[in-house]
């Protein structure tokens, strides 16, 4: 008699737990039920890429020493470094440099390993062209100042979800000066230096 009751009790308990765990697992999904879809009216409104966004690569001609490290670390040896050894000054003379963005996978290895920091990532991501050969950027094109969403007067820049204030899901019509949750890097740095000072 008691054994049957115990079984019923266990069954009820387990089914309650199962429901609880499923609910926990789907909490993020259920969280989306109270969010409205946020539509970005693309050519007029654009999302601001995050800090570590890997967009078009910028190249500074003056800093390049033609060491070809970017070529070695590239998964497909993509950058083309065209240099000649100038015997008069015993120096490599860089003639041309180019990266084909039709083939580049934007892994960022070249930027990471460039010893003189002459390569850098930009926030520019609109590289579409009608001809794929136009995606082969030479050093003049690589050296142009990158397009920035925040600097375009024709575009309303919108923040991505992670950069909205706490509890906010809609990037439109945010009050001026609103910040994302958590401390900003400079605030963390300020508290860290303060702590070090107090230790000393």
């Amino acid at each position: 008699m008691f054994k049957v009751l115990k079984q019923v009790q266990d069954y009820a308990k387990e089914s309650f737990q199962a429901a609880k765990f499923i609910g926990q697992g789907l909490s993020v999904t259920f969280d989306h039920m109270r969010r409205r879809p946020v539509t970005v009216q693309y050519p007029y409104e654009k999302l601001i890429p995050s800090e570590r966004y890997r967009g078009r690569i910028h190249f500074e001609f003056d800093k390049c020493i033609a060491c070809e490290v970017c070529v070695r670390v590239c998964p497909i040896n993509l950058p083309v470094v065209d240099w000649n050894f100038d015997k008069k000054v015993k120096k490599k003379k860089l003639d041309h440099y180019s990266i084909d963005f039709g083939v580049c996978i934007f892994c960022g290895n070249c930027v990471e390993y460039c010893p003189t920091n002459c390569l850098s990532m930009t926030e520019e991501y609109e590289l579409a062209s009608y001809d794929r050969h136009e995606l082969n950027y030479d050093n003049v094109a690589l050296g142009r100042l990158p397009y920035k969403v925040t600097q375009d007067p024709a575009v309303t820049p919108l923040r991505e979800f992670a950069y909205l204030p706490k509890g906010e899901v809609e990037p439109h019509d945010l009050p001026a000066g609103s910040q994302r949750p958590g401390k900003r890097p400079e605030e963390i740095l300020a508290t860290m230096t303060k702590e070090e000072e107090t230790k000393e």
Binding site: D62, F85, V89, K90, K91, L94, D95, H96, Y97, T116
Partner: protein, 153 residues
Amino acid sequence: MAEETKPTPESSNKANSKPPAKAKKAKPPKLEDKPFSEFMEKHFTPALKEAFDAEGIDDVELQFMKQGIPIKGANPSEQCWQVIGNWQNGKRQFNLYFLDENIAGQKAFSYATDGNQPSTVESFMIDERRVTLDLMVMYTIQRLNGQKWLFGN
């Protein structure tokens, strides 16, 4: 790889061994030690012009003068020495700025076409510790060649 790695030790050795040898012979001081304006006028600009001739550009006009930086946002009262070169009747123009009145100091580069105002300033020889006449000429020619102004692709 062997080709790439070989020249560097040689060049550094020679660079190290040259100055003492010169000092022993008590030769006149190095070109680069001359006063700034003398070096620029009597050595750098002629050498640059020669380099242009070697590249096949014979209508280049080089000026060395103290001027404000012709870029939007720069203070026009802050003047600095610059080498202004143009050819094809000013269709192609470049400026080399010597911000510290010293060839080893900060240098900058800008270019413009068709007599327009240059839009950006770039660093010039920013990672180069050794500053010699030949290197300065080489870097100038290299930069202009990078702009595809001397040859096509």
